[in-house]
Symmetry: C2
Subunit: 532 residues, 2 copies
């Protein structure tokens, strides 16, 4: 078994830059057609990143080394930069300009639940802020430490927590440590013929603990469910002691505390172990494309699949704009489009399961007017499924501001939310003289509603951060005003807090504050994140 | 549409005594074979029930009348007795002996969310305890007010909250007021061709708000899910204001506050409105029986169905003892048994859905060695599905102590839990000189585990309450000691609190206390229930 502890993302870009390609001439042509002439806008070299002084005293650093070992406490620039913020476009813009102001004073790497618990206690006792750091893929400001009021900031790097602790084959469950990245977890489970089946776009770099802490949802959610629906038990270290949530598949023993741990984003404690439903590795995987006349027609077909309980494993639908630029197939961006709206369906399982599910879904999709485009288009989506974020770096390099955000609403309001959010973000950017390209897809469906995932591209102004802040605020307010959630699977972080508070209301905010106060009275856990 | 506001259960028995029958000669013979000679043990007449003085002052009663109208505040004995406690065997034993000590001072019947909110605020301001009362079917001491420290106790009867507020056909959802009983809700939805599909044994008398507050699970949970899985949104009146939880099917906007409202058993607030997933009324319903050589073999078949995702709508399995007395078919108790272990499968939906599901399940069940017993046995279960509790009254009348309790565990520990709980309750009763009959079935299955529902019958001692307390404590401790939950669908109430605290641990308890303190600082909401 190979676990690469050095697998980590580039300090100012997504993932492994070796997988990234500069914008091709044809793509550049396409973009310039929409946004006007582009100009290069390179990032500063890493050596130019400005870091705050290490604020932790030598005594503090020695104490931390006493808890996790000297080799696992890092204060050099490279480690600190690598554990600064997440990978939202604002995060990238700041880093590309050399702004390392949110860097932790030290990166601390515990290797067990007990070491995590010791560091958590120590931070609470010493008024040192602690930011749990899994894969570092947050796109909502979930990893930017608020420094004021603290004697220092520690990034708690969980990557040494990389064990498969238990496989319970009879119950179809496995217990994994929080620091395992998606591919590492799948590799460990594959030795038992099992898998999780959770494939968000961040899959290659995001961690098991992070999936739980942020309520992640993957591209196969139609078949395998959201990550939170797979979680049977969690162990969380808090300043008040351990919380183990989840005794059984489901029960009536009071509020479900798992659902309070999930989505807590490091503000209530540090998730160290997660027990998940696991499944046999599918013998067959088939993906295919479908063409719909309109986004509305395709969305309605998705609703019918969900409500008729004939969901494929993967189900996604691009709107007209996203289809026209082939965003669902990163390798084909700028190439010829299928026209209309592209739907991708995927079926995974035993041959019998795939045949049964595919037949039922195909019958309904054909009845509703979908045109089957065959497997080639579907396969092309599957091959590029984790590569979208690389495109963003390439575009930032040529002065195109690109960002994504997402929401979820009940079916009866989905059209309204789509129109309102699109119009809000278009208005906010056009108002700044940079009319954007706005693309959208649905990639998570439920019986009662679906997600909307937007990609926005505009020419970057001098103050790209301020430019985006306005656009994002307009989109966020439109979501909440039209009865949608501020986030389907990106979480709250710092960036969504204002609208999250509107969404859950003042009594909801009071509940979260009470839980935070009970578990983290010193307020050292991921300060500024989640709790309004 | 007919809603019968007077539909309420007999003060000392389950449901409508007209549906009840005395123990037949053949059943008596069967029971005496196991438990020895029986002797009649009748309940006192209602007039002999001893009630505490009404503790609320005239000013208090006038204030309450000002909030909900004079006609909706009741202090007469009949109303107070009818809203005293729930329907556990200990509750019935107390009432049968004339012990009305837990009666509320007044029964208050609000007719809207606003009236509920006003009464909740008033109780908090006046240090008056408030017990939300829906259908009154609690079997865990969820409705017994703790009087000490309060100026009085109000039973908040929610039965006037009986409206279907909204149907969202596109999203497949409906919003119902909390006081609607199961059949009333189904009747209102049937006008739209819709249904909920939640059929616990308490269906005829339990309320929508109660289903949510206690995380109920119904006999069709394999197909339609637990009640909590159907809930999309809830509105709850708390002393701090309204909490509306649920913006969307699912999201990543922090902890899921719906899951904190559900299972809160009136201790955090009063649930007034519930938005549920609803489905088209099934065109076809088929139930059939299967015979298995052993409980273990049948349970394993259930596991395979759940993990293979070929679950029927209804799936239950009686152990050898329960099969031998035909408990799954109340009309057949004492008659000839099928032998082995009886499984009931049910399929509901369109003809195509039923055919598909039935074919897939049948193939697997036959492969695993099940013997198909045909539809007659299944139909017999379906007809008697809500009648089990009447049998208990008839048995209490002849001095047989009967009670049920339930648990849930992961598959890998289910056999162990079954053996341990059975042995604990047998030991505790045999040790008192009353060796019991212990029957068990599985009626809720998940990919990762299943429920166990026990029925226990023993000759009642003079102190039946004390006798049962010992048995229940032994069974409860066995559940927690063997990694099972203290309750799958009966909830915590007062009766399970001790083991609930063990199950969620001290940090879990702190979280619940913090939420309670934040929402109900005066502690007037259902005092003594849920929160350890």
């Amino acid at each position: 078994m190979t676990i690469d502890l050095d697998s980590q993302m580039h300090w100012a870009r997504w993932g492994d830059p070796a997988r990234s390609h500069p914008v091709s001439d044809s793509m550049r042509e396409l973009i310039e057609m929409f946004l006007g002439e582009l100009t290069e806008r390179p990032a500063v070299p890493q050596a130019d990143v400005r870091l705050p002084e290490v604020g932790l005293s030598d005594e503090h650093l020695a104490a931390l080394a006493g808890l996790v070992g000297e080799d696992h406490v890092h204060t050099d620039a490279e480690w600190r930069i690598a554990r600064t913020r997440g990978k939202s476009t604002p995060d990238l813009l700041r880093m590309r300009e050399g702004d390392g102001a949110d860097a932790p004073d030290a990166v601390v790497r515990p290797a067990s639940h007990e070491e995590v618990a010791a560091v958590v206690s120590w931070c609470a006792d010493n008024q040192v802020a602690l930011v749990p750091f899994g894969g570092g893929t947050s796109v909502v400001g979930g990893l930017a430490a608020r420094r004021d009021g603290f004697d220092g900031v520690v990034a708690l790097d969980l990557r040494l927590m990389n064990r498969l602790l238990e496989v319970d084959e009879r119950s179809g469950m496995a217990t994994l440590e929080a620091g395992l990245l998606g591919p590492e977890a799948e590799e460990l489970l594959a030795e038992h013929g099992l898998m999780i089946g959770h494939y968000p776009q961040s899959f290659r770099y995001a961690s098991i603990g992070g999936f739980a802490a942020t309520r992640s949802s993957g591209q196969s959610s139609a078949g395998y469910g959201r990550f939170d629906s797979m979680v049977m038990r969690l162990r969380m270290a808090t300043p008040q002691g351990d919380l183990v949530a989840g005794s059984s598949p489901a029960n009536a023993a009071g509020p479900d505390l798992r659902e309070l741990v999930m989505g807590s984003e490091g503000a209530f404690g540090v998730i160290t172990e997660v027990t998940l439903k696991v499944k046999p590795i599918p013998q067959v995987k088939v993906y295919e494309g479908w063409r719909w006349e309109s986004f509305a027609a395709g969305a309605d077909a998705m609703r019918r699949l969900a409500q008729g309980k004939v969901l494929p494993t993967v189900l996604r639908l691009s709107d007209e704009a996203e289809t026209s630029v082939n965003l669902a197939r990163p390798d084909a961006v700028g190439g010829e489009s299928t026209g209309g709206c592209l739907m991708v369906t995927g079926y995974e399982g035993t041959p019998a399961q795939v045949e049964r599910a595919r037949a039922a879904a195909t019958e309904l999709l054909e009845e509703l007017g979908g045109e089957n485009l065959g497997e080639e288009v579907g396969q092309s989506w599957a091959e590029g499924r984790f590569d979208g974020p690389y495109l963003r770096d390439a575009l930032l390099d040529v002065g195109v501001l690109v960002e994504t955000f997402e929401t979820v609403a009940f079916w009866s309001r989905l059209d309204e939310v789509y129109a309102a959010v699109k119009s809000a973000v278009e208005g906010a950017l056009a108002g700044q003289g940079t009319p954007p390209l706005v693309l959208c897809h649905i990639s998570h469906v439920y019986e009662t509603g679906a997600s909307l995932y937007f990609t926005v591209a505009a020419k970057e102004l001098e103050d790209g951060l301020g430019q985006w802040r306005q656009a994002k605020a307009a989109a966020s307010q439109a979501m909440v005003d039209h009865g949608a959630s501020i986030t389907h699977h990106h979480a709250v972080g710092q960036d969504h807090k204002e609208w999250f508070a509107q969404e859950i209301g003042p009594v909801g905010v009071e509940v979260l504050r009470a839980v935070k106060q009970a578990l983290d009275p010193a307020g050292v856990l991921n300060p500024g994140v989640l709790v309004p």
